[in-house]
Symmetry: none
DNA sequence: GATGAATGAGCCTTCATTCAT
DNA sequence: AATGAATGAAGGCTCATTCAT
């Protein structure tokens, strides 16, 4: 019986998580307005009303998806072990990590993008939105300070500036891949193009943080 | 009568342009899916059916808005006079121009963003999408080559890479302003924050292109 | 062409009025909550969305139906010619008129009933709800005053009291016909029962207003 | 254990009665169609499914609520002691009782009203709906007969007519309080207005039954 | 060229009810 | 006895688009 209860709980958690997963995919693909609750239900192989049962409405579902996305990124960041590198190299590792996180989780940047189109109305409803990105800020802040001590990172750089710069270079390339590929008549999604862009990003950041 | 015809033509051109303007605002604000044809008609103080009369449907209207947006940017770029600067400084002028163009035309980046969410399906329908960005590519290509000759720009940088880097730093900051402001608990829209970001962008690009 | 325009206007007015008629029937039959917009469209043989095109939403449609119901009653009251009767008899004529109006327009009392269940939220939104019943109040007030002069109506009766008494006796009987018929195991809808009730009402009012 | 069973039975009875109470409030407030099973469960602080467990469905729940409402009224009527009054005065006592019962149990008339909107479909399903109102009929019938003997009540009045007249005057005023208050621009709910209406009702009935 | 009228498809959401323990 | 999970049916409303003049 204990077993069964556990199983039930898992079933519920599983179904909720299936819905969240489906919603993440749908929202990332179509944006908030373009996403269809019906489509999410179909993707999750769940009854549509179950979505409302668990998540109340489309907006709250989106909020949950956003939170989960941030949570997942935070967890992966926590697994980073950057102490073994000198600070300046560790920062380049961050560039690397960010880029590959974006590549492996293309939904993350699209969700963020969609949320920004809605003027962050979902994030605004959260209790402590700052926590979403706390680890990220802590990591860069720590690296910068270490870099100053190690004298391998320029001193007048703020954590937010570094974060934004790192994110911007990868984010822009990926989020605008469709139009850029057309305008530059190159497939920016090809592996060689991706590799080359990573190289450029690191080159750029390295040059910038050099003391 | 000739007079009247001219007047009529102007009226027609005027009404079309009012619709385009209204559409640009609506699409930029709400995205393609969030935009409402009714709302565009209202903003333009035009009959809704007139929109269909002139622009066939929502998609073609969006395409026209996009084209106009690119055209406008091209025109402003054409007015740039960068020959009087050394190449490396001219590139920083480009950073400056790009940033201020984004600031003065916030709709430009939002339209691009929306188009990317739709996987550039509107651009794909164009006859010569490359032309949209031709001048921009020509300018940076020219500057890079001049920089190599003047020996004040590093030689292994491609025009596309430079373009993307310059655009990325400004674009990311502005397009994600809502969520970033929440997460970093600072108003990124304040003048001082904007100025500071411009400084960082220039610093970053300058460091990167230095030979 | 003038003809055609007139015809068109009539067509539109006709369709709107068909919708209003259908709505009145549906609302009266099922109450506001029980009424279905789909059903109204069907009754009116109109496209459902046309209802929204003309009347915005279910609530505003109900408001319009209510207004029309009051308007119609007002018009019929205006056609009453009570001057030829002594005041006390004229008041009994009012009982008669009210009763027959209720009988011929069973929807009127049901609409009012439904509106009261909703705490008059539709009437509250009107600009001058008092006007709805103005003529009715004027008529009774006039009759009472004349009755005092003619000395055939008791003097300490207010217009509102008379109105309410007259309405109450007929309204209660008709609105509760279903349950009353069951409880008293008689068909209160039979002609003889209706006639008898009219007699009782007149008897009651006559006794009450006697000086 | 016996104790526990008793306790449990009470608990069950209590929970059923809490549900009935909640349902009565909800049905009275919103009408049958406007009422929500969820809302009833919430008001009763009971699991929604429990409602179905005890009462099968919304209709049967409503039926039970109606029955309870009638039962309660019957019980209060049984407590009336009208023998000490002359018949004509006793009838005025009935007017008084009815009015105060309506005032203290506003749900009663609203439930009846809702049931009539549904064409008494719940009452129709009862085994002996006549019993619901038996005592009321018996009382008035008795009073009328006594009044004839005492020669203080007119002879050609039927019990049903008296009942309806008494109920109508109070019922109409209260059930239509919202719209009447708006149309007559007076708060009919004020104590003075209520008192005045009771006076009018008694005046009217007294005049009517006078031999 | 211009416009009010009209519509089909679909969207988010609600609600009474049932399932499964 | 009691409850959380789940669902089919529908309901009000929206929206891009077309009709008809």
């Amino acid at each position: 019986m204990a077993n069964r209860m556990v199983k039930d709980k898992n079933d519920v958690a599983d179904k909720q998580s299936r819905i969240l997963q489906a919603a993440r995919a749908e929202f990332a693909e179509k944006g908030f307005d373009g996403a269809r609750v019906d489509s999410i239900a179909e993707r999750a192989q769940a009854n549509k009303q179950l979505i409302y049962y668990y998540f109340v409405n489309k907006d709250q579902l989106f909020t949950r998806v956003l939170e989960e996305a941030y949570r997942d990124k935070r967890q992966q960041e926590a697994a980073l072990d950057l102490d073994r590198f000198p600070a300046n190299e560790a920062i380049l590792q961050l560039v690397d990590f960010t880029w590959h996180y974006y590549l492996k989780n293309p939904e993350f940047i699209r969700l963020l993008n969609s949320e920004n189109q809605l003027k962050a109305r979902h994030l605004q409803g959260l209790d402590s939105p700052v926590e979403l990105n706390r680890s990220w800020i802590d990591i860069t802040q720590g690296l910068l300070e270490r870099g100053w001590r190690e004298n391998n990172v320029r001193s007048n750089i703020a954590a937010m500036q570094l974060n934004i710069t790192i994110s911007a270079l990868g984010f822009f390339y990926l989020i605008n891949q469709s139009t850029l590929s057309i305008i530059y008549q190159t497939d920016l999604g090809e592996q060689s193009a991706l590799d080359e862009h990573l190289r450029v990003m690191k080159e750029c950041v390295a040059a910038w943080i050099r003391p």
